[in-house]
Structure formats: C-alpha cells, structure tokens
Symmetry: C2
Amino acid sequence: MPLAALMALPVLAAGGPECSENMSIRKVPFALMGTGGVGAALLDAIVQSRMLHEQRYGVRLEAVALCDSSGVVKAAKGGVLSDETITAIVQHKKGGGRLKDTPVGEAIAQPEGQGTADFLLEIAKQCGEEQPGCIVVDCTATEATVPALLHATSEGRGMRAVTANKKPVSGPLGDFTQLVLSPGASARFRYEATVGAGLPVIAALQRVVAADDSVSRISGSFSGTLGYVMSGLQEGQPFSEVVAKAKELGYTEPDPRDDLGGVDVARKALILARTLGMKLEMSDVTVEPLFPSELAALSVPDFMAKLPTLDSSFADKVAAASAESKVLRYAASIKPPTPNSPGSLTVGLLAVPASSPLGTLTGSDNLVEIYTGWYSSTPLVLRGAGAGTGTTAAGVLSDIIELAFTM
Amino acid sequence: MPLAALMALPVLAAGGPECSENMSIRKVPFALMGTGGVGAALLDAIVQSRMLHEQRYGVRLEAVALCDSSGVVKAAKGGVLSDETITAIVQHKKGGGRLKDTPVGEAIAQPEGQGTADFLLEIAKQCGEEQPGCIVVDCTATEATVPALLHATSEGRGMRAVTANKKPVSGPLGDFTQLVLSPGASARFRYEATVGAGLPVIAALQRVVAADDSVSRISGSFSGTLGYVMSGLQEGQPFSEVVAKAKELGYTEPDPRDDLGGVDVARKALILARTLGMKLEMSDVTVEPLFPSELAALSVPDFMAKLPTLDSSFADKVAAASAESKVLRYAASIKPPTPNSPGSLTVGLLAVPASSPLGTLTGSDNLVEIYTGWYSSTPLVLRGAGAGTGTTAAGVLSDIIELAFTM
C-alpha cells in the first residue's frame, strides 16, 4: 500500500545555512592521512552528507589537514579547508596529481631527509594543538601512520583516531593494546574498516565483548577473491581455471599468490582475535597457503602455468568434503583459550556443513560466524560485500560519526 | 597448532581492588526500570562483568535505583546500591517477590493514587539531579516509562537512556523523533534490544545511516515463532500441525494469535523504518495476519480446532512458491520513498528465492537483509537468535557501555 504519510529523512524547507543558526552544531575537526581511493571516496561522502550530518547528528566534520605521501595541505591555525578546496583536491588526486602540487591553497611538501612517519606525527601533533578534539583518519596502507595514531589516541590528549589501514592493528601487539585495549580506548579509536570493509564485524564483536558474552569460536571468510575461487571449485571448475579467470577479471592482485597465500586473511583474523583480548603476534597465526612452497619463487607466468598440477588435489578435497555433505571454504578459525585448551588461530581450507551459514555463502561476499554463550546452537552471523573503496569509506565515515560523540 | 603465547582477556595478578587505585575509573550511574527476566539478567551480567568493565573500559556501572511495578529501591543521595544488595534483590525477584517487599535496604512503594508513569518520571528526575550523567534503563514492557525516557534524553539534562522495551519507540512518532532523530540524540539514547534482542541490527542500520548510504530495501524475519512455523511448512507439514506443535513447545504465546497476527513483527519493522527517517505511525503499517478475521473472536480451543481449515490454502501457497524456486517467509518489507515511489512498509507472507539469505534461513533465528547503495547486488545480512532474556540483556548491556563514553 502506498503511504501518503511517508517521507524520507527530514529535509529543511529553506536548505542548509539557516539550520546552523538555529541549532548548536558540534564541529568535529579531522586530519586525513591518505587521499587515494578510500580517502577520496571518504572526502566525497563527507561533503555530500553535510545536510544529513547537521540535521540528524548536529555535527559538522571539518577538514583541517589532508596528507599524501608527497606532503600536506593544511588549514591556517584555527581554520578549516572549505568544501571547494576539498573538492578541488579530490579532483586533482583522481587525475593522478600529488598533494604537494595542489591546485588550491598551499601545500607543505614532506621535508627532504624527514621520514614519512616523523612527518605525519608532526602533522598530528600540530592538528591536535590547533584543533581540540581533532580526529586523525588513516586511509593509507603504510606503517608510517603508526606514531601519529599512537599520539592521537594517548589518554588525556583530547584527540581521537580512525583507521581503515590494517597495518597499525596487525603490527606489534603493544600498539594494538594501546589503541584498542587500554581503558577508555573505545572512546578514542575505531578500526571497523580493517576487517570486512563497511561490514560491522568489529562493532558486533565489540558489543559481544562489552556484554561479557564469552566467545567460543569465530569462523569467517574474509577474502572476496578466495570466496570466488571456492565457489568455482564447489561448482566443479578446476582450480587452475578458476584462478586464471579471477586474475583475468581483476579480482586478484597482479600476482595471485598475494591472495592465495592467505596473509591478508591472516591479518584480519589476527585483528579479530586481538579484539577478543588474545595476545598474539602475526607470527603466531598458522597460515596454510593455497599453493605449495615450491611454487613460491616462480615468475607469475610460470606460476600460472604450473597451476594445473594442483587441479586433481583440489578436486579430491572438494569431493571428500562433499561426501560428508560439506563444502570447502578458505576461512579463518579463531578459538579463544579455555581452562582446558590453549586456543588457536588458523587460516586455511576448512570443510564446513553445506547448510551452515558459511556453507551457503557464494560469490565474493565476506561472512563471519560468531559462536558465544548466547549464540551457541546457531551463531551470530554477518554477511555482505567486504571490499571496495566506497564500502570501506562508508565504514570509516560511520566510525568518525560515532567518535564525534565520545570522550 | 596450540599457541603457548595465547591468553584470554588480561587479568590482573592481584585481583580487583588494586586496579581501581591505579586507574581512573569512570563511574556510570544507572537507574533500572523493570527487574523481571531481562532486568534481572542484566543485573546479574553487570555484577559478573565488573573486572572486564574496569580493565577493558575503565568503567564501573553503579546502580542507584531499581524499580518494578510495586515500587523502588533507591540508594541514598550520592550513594550507590552494593553488589550484595543487587544480588539479594535479584534473588528476591526471581523468587516471585516484589520490590516494595525487598529483603534488603528500604523500598519506597509507588504512592497510592500516583500513576506509574508519574512515579517513574519522579524517580528519573531525582536520579538525574543526584547523579550527574545517570542512565535510565528500561527493561519493562509498559508505556509508563515514556515520560521518564523523554526526561532523561532531553538535550542539556546530562542524562541518557537505554531501552529494551518496544513501546517507547513504536508509540507516537513525536516520541521517537525526540528519542532518536533529534540532533545529538545518538549520544543520549540506545534501543538495540527492541529489534532482534542482542543482534546488532539497529547498530548496523545506524552505521549505514551515518555513512549516508541510501537504503533501497530491508527485508527481515523478526519472529522466532513464525520462523519455526515457516520452516515446518517448507518441510511439508500442515499449518495446523506446526502451529499446534509450536504451542505445545511453548514457542507461541498462550494465545497463538498474538504471534500469528504479526503485530509484534510490525512494531519491529516500524522501529527500523523510523530509524531510516520514515515518518510513520503504527497505523501506517500494512499487516497481514496468518489467520482470517473470522477466527479472531473465537476462544483459543475453538481457534485451534479451526486451524485445519487453513491447511490446504497454506500448502497451495508453499507449492506455488516452490514452483518458482522460492520459499515462503513471514517477513517485514521496508521500502523507503524515492523520487518515483512513495515507499511502503508491509508485514506478511513473502515468497523469497530459496538461495537468498532469507530463503536459506531455518528454525527460529532472526535474519535481516539490508540493501543499500554499497550493498546493492547482495545485501548486508545479520542473522542469529533474536529473542531470550540473556541475549536481550546482553544487547542492553552493550548499549550501556557504549553510552558510558558519550556526551
């Protein structure tokens, strides 16, 4: 039945500016590190969501610094970058330009001789001093942001941080402990987009932890590429053909071993395990690559040429699983320690019941099953697209809005 | 591989009290309205989680008032109820006692002649004045809490509120607007457990809204009872037999029409639609009950006796769906308005592809599919147990911990 009374999100009759005068708007300054795909998508989304953010949250996100590996465009002390400036910079970056050659405003190039980590730390410090409550947003894929993030999330500094970058949360355990596990850290740091892009896996897990609902097991498929490969195998396609097709379609990295090796999945699994409080380093994760070690050193064309030698072995594994009404998934399996078991964290082939949530998964979606005290007979399940710049930027933006109300 | 390095959540060597001296603990006062199943489970969980909450969040949740329909046990001005008092009260309630006859401390009975709504409002006001930042927690199933919740979530009052009670968020739209949609409300109010118990459906939807990712459709199965009935129908059981079995197992209300009528599902659907910003009242929801109106006025035994007259019609519907590779679900369907369509909100039988997430659902789990700009070809899906006092209390507790860091 069409409903005449139905309306979308409330829209002010007179547009935007009036609204700022009548409401108290919470101004939330942020410094963005990384203005590539995800960073640019985030800036686009922030500019386009101004009306929603003011009306629903009474929040205005204000860019005070934008950084890439060449330098930074920073607002004058106490000022902000205008939406026109942001938009021009996004266009410049999308066209392949670097920030130090910005077409608008003035850029500060990263000084010769200063490392990127020191440079970014310096920017985080300046932004924190000039803009109380500034949020450092990490949309890079480098470890060089770690000192800046640690600075921004130190207690009593009045700053906060959000990251879409797996490196800071899958590096040394000490960094993770400060960022996530120290008391009050949940008011200062968010990292949702590091696992499953915008899929609220971390948010769901943090809620389970906050309710002290003990987790007995997490199983998850966190690679769209490997999900695609497993779906193909299940349909009876030879391993070599599925991998070749995935490469052709651009689903894999240029060297498919970067996906087939499982390291990216292992990083995500480590982040989830640490979120539960498991004190692990990357070296503690048992990773089973989808190719034997003797193929590791070959050139990409030689590697691709050798793939058919693996077909029969994979076909056998699929058939063996099928005989037990199971299907193969490339999955992470996390078991926290109990009084009777030391726990484990493994990444590799897992035969799961065909009727289980993981078993019914097809295509490139991510899926995670969380078994807890309250979700024991059937798990808490999240499923959906777990990659893509837009989805990732959406995850970052939700994190920023959540932090807008904390401290 | 067993990992020697594996450890559970960090546990202080010396136990609890020392920790309070070395860390700054954020004290978070709360007043609980409703000490029945969910409320008692919540109090149990709070007492049992003290170490986790101090160590991971630096938070201590302090009970300042516990209410039921008979009265209130309140701490002295500025004081808190001890864990011993809380535990004794929970035992007293579990044994069927009423708060005004509390075995510990002193209870204030609800004054004769004062309505429950006024009484609870008075308590919320007192707690707010005596305990800055007090969180009012609603674990009742009555509308009488609404004035107290509206008081606690008014801007500038420095209070907050959490509810597991659907009434305040599925009543008049004006109340929902103040509680959820007014600017800054997300820092003052949480209502996760009103839909899908502890399943983070509202949290996921709020993240989608915050990222301004436009929702095109939500489909969801929000009744474990009706999920069980639909699973039975799909397996070929007659409608009358499945309903009789569900009643026998205690899955339905004493009068199964309370479930089969769909009103509870409609309330949850309304809450989700409003969360998206759709301005709807309960009367705008189109609800299709699973029984014809001529059976509405019968006694329960007469109603049960008449059920076989519906069997062939349900069998036909299941067969018709099956012919199209679809299965029947009792589902809510929410379509926000677009420039070309006024949108809709319906609750009733839905034939969905057997291979879709909703189609693969079996048993009593809840499941919701959210289609958005970023989740367009395949939806964002959440699935899991959507009822139970423990799961519901877990959802409330997570909400409280989240609010501990806002304002």
